[in-house]
């Protein structure tokens, strides 16, 4: 599914990475635990998280994750956006809870990792 289609599904706002709006996503992982994200082997996944800090972006950088959704109205700070832009990441902000956002994407055919 294209990022472009995920945005309305999650009533999300894109805060950086507009250029990659046509990228295709297949797999999604939802977690607030960066230790857990760092154990993933898959690449090219969309990460749903309620943890919006610089280490979220650092974790994504090391784990080769380029697509992040901050759920529950968590806002990306200037520092987060700058770092994310540097690594050509896409960041969305959604008002939905982790449960609701995950459920919507799952119901629309996106795959879980496990």
């Amino acid at each position: 599914m294209k990022i472009e289609k995920i945005i309305p599904l999650l009533k999300a706002k894109i805060v950086c990475g507009e250029r990659r709006i046509n990228d295709e996503i297949c797999n999604v992982f939802s977690s607030d635990l960066m230790s857990d994200v760092l154990t993933l082997d898959s690449e090219n996944i969309l990460l749903l998280t309620g943890l919006a800090n610089v280490q979220t972006i650092r974790t994504a950088e090391m784990a080769e994750i380029h697509y992040i959704v901050f759920v529950r109205n968590k806002k990306a700070t200037e520092e987060i956006i700058q770092l994310a832009e540097e690594h050509e990441m896409v960041i969305l902000e959604s008002p939905f809870s982790m449960f609701k956002a995950s459920g919507i994407l799952y119901a629309n055919g996106l795959n879980p990792l496990f």
């Binding site: 960066m34 230790s35 280490q55 090391m62 784990a63 080769e64």
Partner: protein
Amino acid sequence: MIELKFHISGGDFDTAGTASSETKKILKQLNIDSKVIKRTVVALYEGEVNIAAHAWKGEVAVTVKDHQIVALLKDEGPGIADINMAMLEGFSTASPKVREMGFGAGMGLPNMKKNADLLEVESTPGVGTTVRMSFDF
């Protein structure tokens, strides 16, 4: 042979990850296989976060050889009383502050072991910890 050196401050979650980030940039420039880069920087980042989370200060040295990357992380800190216990998945003494940052699940050392070809941990309680990892390619 290339050697990179970084300083890590304990408790500093704003800059934690910069050593791994710089290392990643250099490894990419050296055209090292992307899977090797990922293994290296994930393990290095776990080590870096461990210094920020558990120690007072530390030094990181990354050496890139022809077919191997070696990372040496040496810190001054409380040390690890029981290394075998620390290596177990789920063992953590992380503070609430560290947990708030998304860490402290006790998965870092096991993940470093998984990603590195060799992991050696030496520690003296009350003095500090030295972690040595190598990645072959």
